[in-house]
């Protein structure tokens, strides 16, 4: 058992090392030069072309004139000390920028995971329970339809209809800038108001999968012999469904929730750009545009670690709820 855990940890360590290495190599394989666009704050500004000496100074300053393997070791060492480098474009430490943006993305992703899982599971189980009835058929068609719309397109539609058209929600951003909030509650309400549409877009686009899985899983469980045993024992309906059936039906859903975190982050990046939401997604788009290697690397690293963390959590949680695993 302990042996197994140790093996797991080693696996994770190796994965992180591979990710870091790829992270180091990838930007260096992209053609282009980070010092072409340096001092201007936006793309529209006039570009300042550096002189040869200035370029060499900066190359030396960032260690880019060193051989690649040396750069690699320096990179590893710095990373180990928590230094993800200094943004060429934002002129701030990368860790600072990423950590500043991360909570918004995490907030959005987690909210939509929780919402889509809850709603998807409940509707899926309900559908399974009413299998082949009209409720089930209607839900099934509806979910298939929505799960096929990409999240950013859904975001655009929501933005047009509810923000631009009906004016129910703000068009962009995560908070009202320069507002003077009377209380924490008021601020929280403002944040939720801004986050509602992006979270809704992500949730809806993710809902179909969870619903289908929930429906499928519940349908399978309802046919199992142990469920017949539970009915035979004369237990109340609630007990049979929630204790005997749902606990089994949840197993594949839990796995999926954690494993889907990665793809949700991908979706979040697109949705954030639609709503100009100040998370990692918008940050990434800007950084790619200006070829800000350190920031891109930082984002990749943080996202990967988050996904690995989610995997690890999935392992732990699964072990908790399914006694058959790991014994």
């Amino acid at each position: 058992m302990r042996q197994k855990t140790r093996m797991r940890l080693i696996e994770y360590a190796i994965t992180i090392w591979v990710v870091i290495t790829l992270n180091f190599l990838l930007p260096r394989l992209i053609p282009g030069d980070p010092f072409l666009v340096l001092t201007s704050q936006s793309a529209e500004d006039e570009e300042i072309v550096l002189s040869e000496e200035q370029r060499e100074f900066l190359f030396h300053y960032y260690g880019l004139d060193q051989p690649v393997y040396k750069q690699y070791f320096i990179y590893l060492g710095e990373l180990f000390r928590g230094n993800m480098g200094f943004s060429v474009y934002y002129k701030q430490p990368v860790s600072h920028i990423v950590m500043h943006r991360l909570p918004w993305t995490v907030f959005m992703v987690l909210s939509s995971v929780i919402l889509s899982t809850l709603i998807g599971t409940i509707l899926g189980c309900f559908s399974a329970w009413r299998r082949e009835k009209w409720v089930d058929k209607f839900l099934f068609l509806f979910m298939i339809f929505f799960s096929e719309i990409p999240s950013f397109l859904l975001g655009l539609i929501l933005l047009f209809v509810f923000a631009a058209g009906l004016g129910l929600f703000p068009l962009a951003g995560a908070v009202t800038h320069f507002a003077d909030f009377q209380s924490g509650w008021e601020k929280a309400w403002d944040v939720l108001h801004h986050a509602f549409l992006p979270i809704a877009a992500l949730t809806i686009s993710h809902l179909g999968g969870t619903y289908l899985l929930g429906r499928n899983s519940m349908t399978t469980v309802l046919e199992k012999d142990y469920l017949r045993t539970a009915w035979a024992k004369g237990l109340p309906k609630k007990r049979v469904i929630f204790r005997h059936a749902l606990k089994n039906a949840l197993l594949p859903i839990v796995t999926r929730v954690f494993l889907s975190l990665g793809s949700l982050v991908g979706g979040a990046i697109l949705v954030e750009n639609v709503f100009s939401y100040p998370g990692l997604g918008t940050l990434m788009r800007e950084s790619v545009r200006v070829q800000d290697y350190p920031v891109i690397q930082g984002i990749f690293l943080v996202v990967t670690v988050c996904v690995l963390l989610a995997n690890f959590l999935a392992d732990v949680v699964y072990r908790k709820i399914d006694p058959r695993v790991g014994s």
Binding site: K224, D225, Y226, T229, A232, K233, H244, L251, P323, R324
Partner: protein
């Protein structure tokens, strides 16, 4: 205490049809049964005969199906009762020990939770009390209570069976339905479960419906027995009576397939398969596999009818037919001045599809009796009936589907001056049956059945050129060509070497199983008799001194002479 006398469970004309498949399958067809408090009822039948569906029907657990008829539990009709009312009867009054399988217990809940939870909802006990009861019940079924924190996947098959039993008994139900309790259990665990059920019933006094294809297991625990075939009850009676004397061909087939009853006999299953799902069942469902089916059997479904006290059989023929009946047969031989009593008042009965062995020493009158039965010799006194009609003037041996005798000595039984083909089709020639071409065809088939060649050269060979084994086969083919319902085989293997003897006997028994004819097998070779017979008659000095089921006679002979005979015969073999 009036409840003692009335029935606990009364199932009345219950039919269960599964509608989920097309065409709908009628898994249970018009079954009625009665169970008193503390009584045990066994239900036997092959897999897929509707036993488990009946059990689920009584529990009210039929999904995608319609239930017709009544299930009266303590005078309350459970059919059509809404689920939330029925719920209170499940487990508290009627519990079920399900067939053991990996999926029968919930994989994510502990043993304790699964065994104890009915108490919470039916008896409203506190968690503390539930735990005590669970520990107590697990101890009762012989499982260490420490296992209650385990999950089902951690248990062995035998332990899971005990958990299932503990779970079924936790609320101390009045009726316990036990479905296939011995599936996949080894002999030791099987015995454990057997003893547990027996002891616990004494302790808790529940009534029990025991469903199994393991006839031996069921018969030891129950007092009444139902045989089910294709969703229908085909035989109903006291367990001991049914075992001793099955009245339906299907029940007999099941018994013959059980190694526990016949320790020495070879196993012969029931030939053929049950009709497939959704097959049109107009006539008797067992007719295609039955050894005595006739034209009328395919026309309508037989109903369960009384054929004896406490015995009902669903058969158009009223159960297994008696083919041959001999009453008070006497025969004296005159040797000079002296009269020798060869047969002294023998009674004998052979039923359809049965192999009856007539054993005894040489000179005990076996062959004389056989010849009288076949009508070869006239009896001095007594009469022989074949299918209820007195045997006179060879009518019974002169017909298709009649009676045939195969003699001991193939060399004198088949004329050495005749060709094989002529010998075999001789009976048909005598009967003037159909055309020559058809007679030849029938002869070919009969020869093939006994595994002789049918090449023109062989057919034209003269019998004197055949070996003993071949000639005996020719004699058997000649008997089989009339498709007899009864074959009397008089010491047919005694003149053959062991290998030929084994081959002929196995083939004859195989043919018997395939065609379903009855056979009187006369022999002094007890080892052979023990291998093939269902019933045994022991003859000593012209008298039948003992008769009965071969499973009983060979195990526990009663008569002094039989004991002596067996002792000598089986001395070396133990």
């Amino acid at each position: 205490m009036t409840a003692e006398s009335t029935s606990l469970l009364l199932v009345n004309e219950l039919s269960i049809t599964y509608n989920g498949v097309s065409p709908p399958v009628k898994a249970v067809n018009n079954i009625s049964l009665k169970l008193k408090k503390g009584e045990n009822l066994g239900i036997i039948g092959e897999s897929g005969c509707g036993k488990s569906t009946l059990a689920l029907g009584i529990m009210g657990l039929i999904k995608n199906g319609s239930v017709k008829g009544n299930i009266l539990y303590k005078d309350l009709n459970l059919v059509g009762l809404p689920d939330d009312k029925l719920r209170h009867y499940r487990w508290k009054e009627i519990a079920m020990m399900f067939q053991n399988s990996l999926d029968i217990l919930n994989p994510v809940l502990t043993v304790e939770e699964q065994v104890g939870e009915p108490l919470r909802f039916h008896c409203h006990l506190t968690p503390q009390e539930i735990d005590e009861r669970v520990v107590h019940t697990l101890e009762m079924v012989g499982l260490d209570p420490a296992w209650r924190t385990a999950y089902p996947h951690q248990l062995s098959g035998g332990m899971r069976q005990r958990v299932l039993l503990a779970m079924a008994l936790i609320c101390e139900p009045e009726l316990l339905i036990v479905d296939e309790p011995t599936t996949a259990l080894d002999a030791a665990s099987k015995n454990d479960i057997f003893e547990l059920l027996q002891n616990l019933q004494k302790q808790l006094n529940f009534a029990m419906i025991l469903i199994s294809h393991d006839v031996a297991f069921v018969s030891q625990l129950t007092s009444m027995l139902i045989t089910m075939y294709c969703g229908q009850a085909v035989e109903y009676g006291r367990t001991s009576d049914v075992l001793k004397n099955p009245m339906h061909c299907y029940t007999r087939g099941l018994l013959n397939s059980s190694p526990q009853f016949f320790k020495y006999k070879d196993l012969w299953g029931i030939s053929g398969e049950p009709p497939g799902e959704g097959a049109p069942l107009k006539g008797c469902p067992f007719a295609p596999r039955c050894c005595q089916s006739a034209e009328g059997c395919g026309k309508s479904r037989p109903q369960l009818r009384y054929v004896a006290l406490e015995r009902r059989v669903a058969c158009h023929k009223g159960g297994i037919e008696t083919f041959l009946k001999a009453e008070g047969i006497k025969k004296n031989y005159r040797v000079g001045e002296k009269s020798i009593e060869a047969v002294r008042g023998a009674d004998l009965e052979i039923r359809s599809g049965e192999v009856v062995a007539l054993v005894g020493e040489s000179g005990s009158g076996k062959s004389t009796l056989a010849h009288i039965l076949a009508g070869v010799l006239p009896a001095d006194e007594g009469s022989v009936f074949f299918r209820g009609k007195k045997v006179e003037n060879h009518w019974a041996t002169k017909m298709i589907g009649g009676m045939q005798i195969i003699f001991q000595d193939p060399f004198s039984a088949t004329s050495h001056r005749m060709q094989v083909l002529d010998v075999v089709k001789e009976p048909l020639e005598i009967m003037k049956w159909k055309s020559t071409a058809e007679r030849n065809k029938a002869a070919g088939e009969a020869l093939q059945a006994v595994r002789l060649p049918v090449t023109p050269e062989f057919l034209q060979r003269y019998c004197y050129s055949l070996s003993g084994g071949q000639r005996q086969r020719v004699a058997i083919a000649r008997a089989l060509i009339t498709r007899p319902n009864l074959v009397i085989a008089d010491e047919i293997t005694s003149m053959l070497d062991p290998s030929n003897q084994a081959n002929i006997l196995r083939e004859l028994k195989g043919l018997q199983n395939r065609f379903g004819f009855a056979m009187l097998y006369i022999t002094h070779e007890l080892h052979l008799a023990r291998k093939v017979s269902d019933k045994v008659y022991v003859m000593h000095r012209g008298e039948i001194v003992e008769k009965g089921s071969s499973s009983v006679i060979f195990e526990k002979p009663e008569h002094f002479f039989t004991k002596q005979l067996f002792k000598e015969a089986f001395r070396s073999s133990g």
